[in-house]
Assembly symmetry: C2
Homo-oligomer: 323 residues x 2
């Protein structure tokens, strides 16, 4: 019954985090490093990796059995020939709902209350109204993807009095935190109804450029678009046009395409665009790291005991598998 | 049973609003104007005023029976010798809870998610993390004043997972949207417990400079202070010091003292201060005007029918009277 593996941990683990992980599989040998410092050799030697190594370091690893990503998005490991055949892949769904949904809510309020332009005015010492604002209360919010992040965001805006429409890939009963539930196929008919649209989908082949120029045109005049998924889900140039023309009231983007956004990209300067540098899911919120470690430790315990893992990612869809 | 009065309305009333007011008291004569355009003569001639005239115009009015303010705060009419003796004074409590509480929530998230510094970075085309953030979830929020605005704000942060402590002037049962209720006398013992403090009190003699240098020092290291009341409730210089020293994580101020904030005031430049120019309760949110008109129309109907008015302000306390 001995379970002795070489586990590489790429997390900013503090002593109590290390203790938690080691308790889950006491006979394993743990090596702690970081994305920046870890070597190809260390990655190739590991049987289990917790955290996200540089994708090209894992290629053709002779030892890797299981990669547990610290992230919710695992798109860089879904590409062909990155993970050795048969490698188990799990993610940290459940760790990011809090941090990302609060960040999304903050960007949303920043846009609809014009707090970004009030900030600009403050820098100029300008005591001056910036015009009409909108409310979350009684607005219609379309949440695309009801996973950890989308579900948490839907709960929040519903609690603040919005009418919430949820969109899911697969058939499911309506959760109590949305007012309507629809399938992905209904997207185009729902877009014109929404005052606020939040994209909370994983990046897969199917979701690439989901928000094409044509789909952006379906959004209601004066709508607000939020993206907490991946920048590649939106046609950036078409979005810039929709913002500059005034078709959209604003966009809150924690992710962009390309990323990082180049210094001279037009998006930086669009007054109604609020851009943050893909940080809502980092460890800037201490609770996020706590959750990542708890999820990893539990999965390690399951793996050591030969039990089915949580948060298995289905390679064909890029979505989490139902356990 | 005829009720024929001269009613001066100082609201940006559209046709449907005028119809609503006139339905409430069909025999009255209505004059519509604005704060800027109204003359002293028109104010002195009115028997009923709906909206806020320049305070010195109402002094010694021989005709004024009732002033219904469009605002929640009525401090400028509470000063001695402003209103003729015996004038009834009512306010528009109930109209501002939505707009101001959403604005407060936006400023709070802007501060704790560092969206203001991300905005500054965006202006510089800088793709760069700005450091640790905080969450509303599991934070302790002290809401001082549970009127329309404080109550709405308390509901919102509670729905977002905060532990909410409410502070009231008078004894009352705990509403279900707070976790604890306390009386004003407990303020000093509660300040060190709160991660977030929201001031939602009317401006009265008692609340003037409530947040003195000594009280600001009682706040927890790293706390966030929000003010949606009046700037005069806080010692501005002491607040600037508490922000600059890093004792406070940030402050969200829709009101300042003095107001407007002078061009060369140090508060403008403090990185952790978010200042908006007393706009959260204006008609920037269209729903606010709808509510103001509904409240006024209902009160006018009550007045015309000789029934007790809603939202009577007690001159001695500056608070709303229980009906």
């Amino acid at each position: 019954m001995s379970f002795s593996k070489r586990v590489l941990v790429l997390l900013p683990a503090e002593t109590r985090h290390k203790a938690l992980l080691q308790q889950s599989a006491p006979e394993c040998r743990f090596l702690y490093s970081t994305y920046r410092d870890v070597t190809r050799e260390q990655v190739q030697d590991a049987q289990i990796i917790i955290g996200n190594p540089p994708a090209d370091y894992v290629k053709n690893s002779p030892n890797l059995e299981w990669l547990h990503c610290h992230s919710a998005g695992v798109d860089s490991f879904l590409k062909e020939d990155v993970l050795p055949k048969g490698t188990a892949l799990t993610n940290s769904t459940g760790a990011y709902g809090l941090a990302v949904s609060e960040h999304l809510l903050g960007m949303l309020l920043e846009i609809i209350k014009r707090l970004h332009t009030y900030r600009d005015a403050q820098k100029l010492h300008l005591w001056q109204g910036q015009g009409k604002v909108k409310s979350i209360y009684q607005s219609t919010v379309l949440v695309i993807g009801l996973g950890d992040i989308g579900g948490e965001f839907a709960r929040k805006v519903k609690a603040l009095g919005a009418y919430v429409i949820g969109l899911r890939r697969t058939c499911a009963e309506k959760p109590d935190y949305v007012d309507e539930i629809h399938l992905a196929a209904d997207l185009d008919s729902l877009l014109p109804r929404a005052d606020i649209v939040a994209i909370c989908l994983p990046a897969t082949k199917e979701t690439n450029r989901l928000f094409s120029r044509e789909r952006l045109a379906l959004l209601k005049e004066g709508a607000v678009l939020l993206n907490a998924s991946r920048g590649t889900l939106i046609d950036t140039e078409a979005l810039c046009d929709a913002l500059e023309s005034g078709h959209l009231f604003g966009a809150g983007l924690d992710v962009t395409d390309p990323e990082p956004l180049p210094k001279d990209h037009r998006l930086w300067e669009i007054p109604s665009a609020v851009v943050t540098p893909h940080i809502s899911g980092l460890y800037h919120l201490p609770e996020t790291l706590e959750r990542v470690v708890r999820i990893a430790a539990e999965n390690l315990r399951l793996y050591a005991n030969g039990e089915p893992l949580n948060n298995y990612v289905d390679f064909t869809t890029g979505y989490r598998k139902k356990k």
